[in-house]
């Protein structure tokens, strides 16, 4: 409200951070613990399975589709950085373009994920089929929720939230950077999910 909180935009000299950047890094630390716990569960379940019963990812999953999705997400991370860089250069037209591309790549990722899921269901493969599919659907599902969340934030800064550009460009740049840090994290989680679930 009207209470002036210091260091929301400007950097505190002795810590070298503003509040928002510290906040998002702490949030990402907790996200690491969330996905870390799921990866640890994956390891424990796989190690604990009777020998020979844990399936290869390729028995159920499509590596070409996942490779395509990896490329899509990495591209979206690149456009995200470009969007932020455009903010720093105060080039609003380019920002709109790159941020739109980031959101668009997110959509492409979800569409491909949807195709993957439906093809599993058509084969009669569901989470209750076996523990491998269970952890596959849980981890990729939670990741997809994060993609949707990141897209919602990015879409907000792309269209309605972008009017802040005129009033407080520096704060707006910070917000884009913060959204970008989250988006890169979502990307990074996928970089781990892809080999663990599809290739190993």
């Amino acid at each position: 409200m009207t209470t002036a909180i210091p260091y929301t935009v400007e950097v505190r000299p002795d810590t070298g951070l503003n509040n928002v950047k510290l906040g998002i890094w702490l949030f990402l630390a907790s996200e690491v613990m969330l996905f870390g716990a799921l990866f640890a569960s994956y390891i424990l379940l796989r190690v604990g399975a009777p020998p020979g019963t844990w399936p290869q990812g390729t028995e159920y999953l499509s590596v070409p589709l996942a490779t395509l999705n990896t490329a899509v997400l990495i591209s979206s991370s690149v456009t995200m950085v470009m969007a932020w860089a455009s903010c720093i250069r105060r080039d609003f037209g380019k920002y709109r373009l790159y941020m739109g591309a980031t959101v668009g790549f997110g959509f492409v990722f979800l569409i491909i994920k949807y195709i993957e899921y439906t093809s599993k269901f058509e084969h009669g493969w569901f989470p209750e089929t076996n523990t491998f599919l269970a952890i596959y659907f849980t981890m990729t599902g939670l990741h997809a929720l994060h993609v949707i969340g990141g897209m919602a934030v990015n879409a907000y800064f792309w269209l309605p939230g972008a009017k802040m550009w005129k009033t407080a460009p520096e704060q707006f740049t910070n917000r884009v950077e913060t959204a970008g840090l989250f988006w890169h994290f979502v990307d990074l989680v996928w970089i781990f999910l892809f080999p663990v679930l599809y290739l190993l």
Partner: protein, 617 residues
């Protein structure tokens, strides 16, 4: 000495010199907000702190009520409970006699409510929110709207937990630990428990990152880390624990929800038979996985329960001994050490699961190591009393009682941490006695000390000392009446969670009579809270008016009017020295606040050797 404000005014957006009228602006703006935005959708950390504290206290009362009810069944197994038995109805207490399922609900929800809805919200959400920004000289939390969201997530999590009592089959009944496979196949109350936990975890996460950002970023000029009050340090470490330990429980809750809702088998082993029928699931899961994920949260959670309490006790003891805390640096390093170590002791809850002697040996070792910093903290607090002329006001009584009570709780934990001794003691009432000594006459007493200590700051009025003592002494006696017999029963081998109080076991016969003693003590403890409830509301309206610094304390929250205005400080505060400069030689007053300019230079221990001169300045 130099004014720390000089170096920092350039960085602070509002030096008070430029904006003398600023606070009138706050007040004017404050008036415009309606009731809803002032008291319900508030973004002011003081209001949110009060929301947390009041909600937390109500949940503590409710959770205690559940156990007062369960203790009827333990003292008089199978006997009809007059009056209340009728009200609770035939699905819970047909003919006034408690059903085993309802008894299990009472136990599970007592634990859940006391830990997640009572103590943590009061200790972290309540005291943390109200006191931390004031003690570091900040205008508010770093993210005020996130702070509001955190309270509302907590509130709705609590509503879901309470509503689960009215689901078919009742609330969660697999213990507060929700062990699988029992919890996987329990009635729908367990699903509500998991959803409620997701809300509570979200609340803790938002709160924790807010506290950490606030403490790191919004400290007043001159307030370096080693000048922070110990309470702020305790909240700092607590927030790290909440931030990093809760997400694995969230992952576990997601997995258990999957098990319950879409029939996966994360926690269900192959070949499970329930009531004579093979369970139709794919199997291949691991019940131990749940225990690992749960205790990875729940052991750091134990320290979430105790660290803020230690922080409060440190503040109250320093204030009422009129001496600096003994070993401030040792306290700080110990609390940091506890924070790190608390992440590597979780499996000492699982010695008897068959996870293997190597694992047991590892976790037994880390458990023994973590007791060292805990003992350092307790010892430093006890040594702080040495040679002091104590002021025995109500906050101090609660803080003093904390020391031996937490001592008993801590020392009785050592045999449990040894995997050989644990074979006998595991899952007995001894365990219940041990952790209740830590959390009930330990943490809860410290929280009460905090309520009596900061009530004048929060409301502008003092709680009554007479009623406070009437609250303290019976509480102390009855607490011990409840929990000490548990240690005796447990050593005799009586198991915990017995629906009939353990009457059918031969080895329990000699200690069965204690059940009635404990139950009567529990009901007595309930009565002993009446003076507090009366005191709270009476003092809110008619209590003695409080000055700005009624306890003659040194930390920053006392540098502002009681209650503090919107925006907290009338002029931006600055800090000149460490937090506990009591009885500084050569001074007229027996306390030298952090925020007072002048006074002897801030060289550690230098002025304790020779009489200091007060610079004229």
């Amino acid at each position: 000495m130099t004014d720390p404000r000089d170096a920092a005014t350039a960085d602070r957006p509002h030096g008070h010199e430029e904006h003398p009228e600023q606070h009138d602006g706050y007040e004017a703006h404050h008036e415009e907000l309606g009731w809803w935005r002032t008291y319900w959708f508030s973004v002011d950390h003081k209001v949110i702190g009060a929301q947390y504290a009041v909600t937390g206290l109500l949940f503590l009362l409710f959770g205690f009520g559940l156990m007062m009810l369960a203790r009827w069944q333990l003292a008089y197994p199978g006997e009809a409970l007059p009056l209340l038995g009728k009200i609770l109805g035939p699905s819970r207490m047909p003919g006034g006699v408690m059903l085993p399922e309802f008894y299990n609900q009472l136990g599970a929800m007592h634990g859940t409510i006391m830990v997640f809805l009572g103590v943590v919200p009061l200790a972290v959400g309540g005291f943390g929110n109200f006191v931390v920004p004031l003690q570091i000289g900040a205008p508010d939390m770093a993210f005020p709207r996130l702070n509001m969201a955190s309270y509302h997530a907590y509130f709705w999590g609590g509503v879901i937990m309470l509503a689960s009592f009215f689901l078919p089959g009742g609330a969660a009944q697999s213990g507060w630990t929700s062990y699988s496979p029992l919890a996987d196949i329990a009635p729908s109350g367990q699903t509500a428990w998991l959803v409620g936990m997701v809300f509570l975890i979200t609340s803790s996460l938002l709160g924790a990152l807010n506290f950490l950002t606030t403490i790191i970023q919004l400290r007043a000029p001159g307030l370096s880390f080693m000048r922070l009050p110990f309470f702020v340090w305790a909240q700092f470490v607590t927030s790290f624990l909440l931030l990093l330990a809760f997400p694995p429980l969230e992952a576990a809750a997601v997995l258990q929800l999957m098990d319950r809702l879409v029939d996966t088998s994360f926690f269900l082993p192959s070949g499970l038979v329930v009531t004579g029928q093979a369970l139709e699931v794919s199997g291949g899961g691991s019940p131990l996985l749940w225990q690992h994920l749960f205790w990875f949260l729940a052991h750091p959670e134990v320290y979430v329960l105790i660290l803020p309490a230690m922080g409060i006790v440190a503040e109250v003891i320093a204030n009422n001994t009129r001496k600096p805390l003994w070993g401030y640096k040792a306290l700080v390093y110990s609390v940091l050490g506890i924070g790190f170590l608390s992440f590597v002791v979780w499996a000492h809850h699982m010695f008897l699961t068959g996870m293997g002697t190597v694992m047991n040996a590892f976790f037994q070792t880390t458990t023994m190591i973590i007791s060292i910093p805990s003992v350092v903290i307790l010892t430093a607090l006890i040594l702080s009393l040495w040679g002091a002329s104590l002021r025995f006001n109500t906050p101090m009584l609660f803080a003093l009682a904390f020391l031996p009570m937490f001592g008993i709780g801590g020392l009785t934990g050592l045999p449990l941490g040894l995997s050989a001794a644990d074979i006998h003691l595991h899952d007995t009432n001894y365990v219940i006695g041990h952790f209740h000594y830590v959390v009930a006459p330990g943490t809860l007493f410290a929280l009460m000390a905090g309520v009596y200590y900061w009530f004048p700051k929060a409301t502008g009025r003092h709680l009554s000392e007479r009623l406070g003592k009437l609250h303290f002494w019976p509480s102390l006696i009855f607490m011990n009446g409840i929990f000490f017999p548990m240690l005796i029963q447990g050593l005799a081998g009586m198991n915990r969670r017995m629906y009939d109080g353990g009457v059918t076991y031969r080895h329990n016969q000699d200690v069965l009579w204690l059940n009635e003693v404990m139950s009567i003590s529990a009901w007595g403890l309930g009565l002993a809270q009446l003076p507090f409830i009366v005191n709270f509301f009476w003092s809110l309206a008619k209590g003695r008016k409080s000055a700005e610094n009624p306890w003659r304390a040194t930390t920053l929250e006392w540098a502002t009017p009681s209650p503090p205005p919107h925006g907290n400080f009338l002029t931006p505060p600055a800090v000149y020295r460490g937090p506990y400069e009591y009885s500084v030689p050569g001074m007229d007053e027996d306390y030298l606040p952090q925020f007072a300019p002048g006074g002897p230079p801030d060289e550690p221990d230098a002025y304790h050797e020779e009489p200091a001169t007060v610079p004229a300045e």
